[in-house]
Every structure is written in C-alpha cells, then in structure tokens.
C-alpha cells in the first residue's frame, strides 16, 4: 500500500471529511489521494491561514477537518494558530511536509527548517516527526490524540519519509 493511501485511509477512518491543502512537491501524492476520495471534501486554499479559517468553520459545522501544507506555512500561520485555533480550542491535524531536511536540494528551504521545531515548541503544539516509512504507523493514534485534546497537532514529514527526491 502506498504511504499516501495509508495516511488518507487513517484520516477517513477518523472521520476527517474536510481537508484544505496548499501544495508542496513532496505532498503531491497525498493531495491526489485526498482529491480522489469521495468521503472527503477537498478545498485547496491560496494561503495557509485562509485554510485554517476554512477548517475552523467546517469544525464548527460539525465536521472534522485537517490541513495539509508545507513547513514554511508555520511562518504564515502563527497568529491564526494562536488567536483562532488555540484561543477557541479547536482540533486541527496539520500534515506538514518538512522541507529543508536531509536530501533537500533547495538551500532556501533550510532556513525555515531551522525554525520549524522551535516555533512549534514555542507555540506548545504537539509535534511528531515522520522520518522513516514505518513512522506512519502512529498516524492513526496521533489523529485520535488530536481530537481527544482539541488542539492543533503537527506531523512533520521529511524527504526521507517520502523516499527522497528521486534523482538527487
């Protein structure tokens, strides 16, 4: 089974039916899988804070929501995480491509990678780092944890997890 299919299976099994995405090359497969599922309403967002607003609305409408985005978005969404998701205490799984880690070809991506975990820690956001493919086994438990505690939770998925960049 592909890793993208496994992750989306877990989202569906946990009743996540509204997913917003901002693309990343590393996430293309999982976004395709989200788009393909009839159980999920997939709504691409133009910016990640906008996406979190969509997720907040869907949550208040009674649907479990999630966001799929790149780690650069942590820089974009700090205010939204603090004043909307955390302040109003809403659950939000954030499946994040962790660019700028080992096997990264683009130097600029390293700059936000250096800040990613520090920012998430500063925000008191529970953070999990998927490095090897077997780490995905915990995704189901992480989703259950997210909806138990009503918090944003970050799942960082690096290049090694996704099998590298192929021709690098």
């Amino acid at each position: 089974m592909s890793i993208s299919k496994k992750l989306v299976d877990d989202l569906v099994a946990n009743d996540v039916s509204f997913i917003t995405t901002v693309p990343c090359k590393q996430l293309a497969g999982v976004i395709d899988e989200v788009e393909a599922r009839s159980e999920i309403f997939h709504i691409p967002a133009n910016k990640e804070d906008e996406g979190m607003g969509l997720c907040a609305g869907a949550y208040m409408g009674g649907k479990r929501s999630a966001i799929i985005m790149q780690n650069t978005a942590i820089g974009v969404t700090i205010n939204t995480l603090a004043t909307l998701i955390q302040f109003y205490r809403m659950p939000l799984p954030m499946l994040i491509s962790y660019r700028g880690e080992l096997r990264e070809p683009v130097a600029c991506q390293v700059e936000m990678a250096l800040h990613t975990k520090a920012l998430l820690a500063q925000m008191h956001i529970p953070t999990y780092h998927f490095h090897g493919e077997s780490d995905a086994a915990e995704f189901d438990a992480i989703l259950k944890y997210t909806f138990m505690c009503n918090k944003p939770v970050a799942i960082l998925t690096d290049a090694s997890f996704w099998g590298g960049y192929g021709d690098q």
Binding site: I43, A45, N46, G53, A56, G57, G61
Partner: protein, 184 residues
C-alpha cells in the same frame, strides 16, 4: 450611515441566521446591538471571517452570513477565488465597505480609493455580486438570503465608530454556544 447604524438596521434580518462577525468593532457592535447564540464573534485573526463562514456553509445546510470589512477582505484577498470556486448557495459574504480600517482609527484603505471590491469579487469568479448603498442594504440582504444563491454584497457606507466595551465572553464559550446553535 456608519457601520453600527447598518448593523442595527439589519439585526432583525440576520438574527435567525448563522453569523460570523469580523474582529474588532464589528463584533463589539453586533454583540451590543443583538447578541445571539447564532453569532460567532471573532476576537482576533483579522481577515478570516469569510473563510470561517465559507467552511461552515460548505458542511451544513443553514444560511451563513459572514460580516466582513473592506480592510479585512483586503488582508485576505485570496478568499475571493476560493469562495468563487467552491460555491455554497447558503453563504452570503457581506462586506461593509467604509473605506477605512475602522477598529484601528479609521486609516484609509485602498477600497476607499481606486480599488473596487465588487469588481475584484467579479474578476475572481463570484457569480452574484451586488454593490449597494448603506440605506439599501436591508432589502438586498433579504433578497440574497431568499435567493439561496451564494452572494457577495459590498455595502458602501461612511466611516465612523461608536465607543463600546470589548467582548469579555470567553472564546471557548462563544464557540461552544455557536456550535450548539449550528447543531440545533
């Protein structure tokens, strides 16, 4: 008319619908004029009233009205293509366009200069865009609600504020009360 007069005017029209109200003075004014469990007050996060309203409208059948401002729409302009391309016919985006950042001291916005938010919304692909003057908003809003078609209303009005206390209700209480009203 200024925004608080407009909100007083439309309060009887919106009170039976789900309302997502913009940060700052708009929420304080609506809270003071006609507090309802069906009102979701934004206490922070400028710009996201339209996104929250769209997400809510897409997942349940009740009419949702997002009360936004010109400054807030300008800060999240990406919302308009998303609204246009994900049609929720139970969604109304009401932009109260006073040409200024009211909550921060009435600094002018570009919507009060050369930029037309109605034209922007149309260019983004929104199908039903209505621009009205303040005094004509009530009937236009009622028509939009009754049409069951996603509508963007740009309501041109004067800038100006009234003095009101901040909302002290706990955010989790606001959210919980609102979710119960949505589910009712």
């Amino acid at each position: 008319m200024i925004r608080s007069e407009i909100l007083r005017d439309i309060a009887p029209i919106i009170r039976d619908h789900l309302v997502v109200c913009n940060i700052g003075l708009p929420s304080q004014e609506l809270h003071a004029i006609d507090d309802q469990p069906t009102n979701f007050y934004m206490l922070g996060t400028m710009g996201l009233a339209s996104s929250i309203g769209l997400g809510l409208a897409l997942v349940q059948p009740k009419t949702v009205i997002s009360i936004d401002g010109d400054g807030s729409v300008l800060t999240n302009l990406g919302t308009l293509p998303t609204i246009a391309n994900n049609v929720a016919d139970n969604f109304i985006l009401l932009i109260i366009d006073n040409g200024s950042y009211g909550s921060t001291g009435d600094q002018p916005t570009y919507a009060g200069k050369k930029t037309s938010l109605a034209a922007v919304a149309q260019a983004c692909g929104c199908d039903n865009v209505v621009e009205v003057q303040d005094k004509d908003l009530g009937p236009a809003l009622q028509t939009a609600i009754d049409s069951r078609q996603m509508t963007v209303i740009v309501c041109k009005c004067d800038s100006g504020n009234i003095k009101l206390p901040v909302i002290t209700m706990d955010p989790v209480v606001i959210r919980d009360r609102f979710m119960k009203a949505v589910a009712r």
